[in-house]
Symmetry: C2
Amino acid sequence: MNEMTITTFDWVPEAPRGYVRDIRLRWALEEAGFPYKIESTPFKDRGEEHFQHQPFGQVPWLTHGEISIFESGADLLYVAETSEALLPTDPKGRNEVIKWLFAGLNSVEMAVLPFTIFKFTEDEEQTPGRQALDGFLAARLGHVETYLQGRDWLTDAFSIADIIMADVLRLADRFDALADYSNCRAYVEQATSRPAFKKAYQDQLDHFAAAD
Amino acid sequence: MNEMTITTFDWVPEAPRGYVRDIRLRWALEEAGFPYKIESTPFKDRGEEHFQHQPFGQVPWLTHGEISIFESGADLLYVAETSEALLPTDPKGRNEVIKWLFAGLNSVEMAVLPFTIFKFTEDEEQTPGRQALDGFLAARLGHVETYLQGRDWLTDAFSIADIIMADVLRLADRFDALADYSNCRAYVEQATSRPAFKKAYQDQLDHFAAAD
């Protein structure tokens, strides 16, 4: 089968550079040691073909032969099942990774996202809903902090779950949300010091800079 | 192997009854036609064993022999891979369902959750962050609305992705967020009219009522 292709935007503004979700796929494919291609779709004009691949008008999506998959979690699961490098094959180990893959997205990113939107909109008003959402994030980070105590990675070895969790925590760390969570911060530092992350990050920056 | 066990809280307040996430697992197991057991963990005293199964102190989790899985998305994927009833086995069909499983959780529930928190806290203040979060939800619901046009289910047949998406949209519908999205509302009505959902819903209500 042909090599996998990651489709991302042709260009994005400065703010999201280094944080566009294609970094998760680049990172996984670098870790797996797979060759891959990068293709671009217009940021400013999202047409019918874009929505056929990604019904929410976002990026990235992954194509491999006749398979087209959006959602970074689904993409990483596909890569890991194809490569066997980032996901154990025994049922128990496999399920450990899959539950943490979902947890990074659904228990942690779900709490990080509103926080980042308040930061991007420079909204400092402490309304009841805002306080509840901040409390929700603090609780979730507190649980991750406890879980990471004494662990290098979420499961026995580095996996796709760590790619998601580290990238999600990186989004929180960008606005200093990890100041009170030293295990989380050390975990992000350890994950992002991996050569595969560094290459993915630089490649994303270069990709968008080339379009300026 | 033994039958699967869903662990949920022994009791919850009135507000979340009918919406506790164990309904997703009950629903899937009813659809699959599998026998299963329900066990309870204290709502008011979440001890070490709870956190060993669910590190965020939430419910449900699924146990099956030595396997213990939290996160409703991971649980449903496990059930579907075991049953073959709610997930096609061909690679393309399987990936279609898996991407929509992640989309329901990560593209839609992520947008619905802040909205429900503002509603639960009766927060009506239109701060910049709130407006951005409301716009985020409207955009996501709009894309689901477009996608559902002319479709019964997210993929060719009812699947675990529909269990997640219908349950997520039901949370939005509870606070009337689907008033302008007739396809979404019709989809929720069609999904929740299935006998498996009705039984799961009533069983959850009965479980918590029995503890009053």
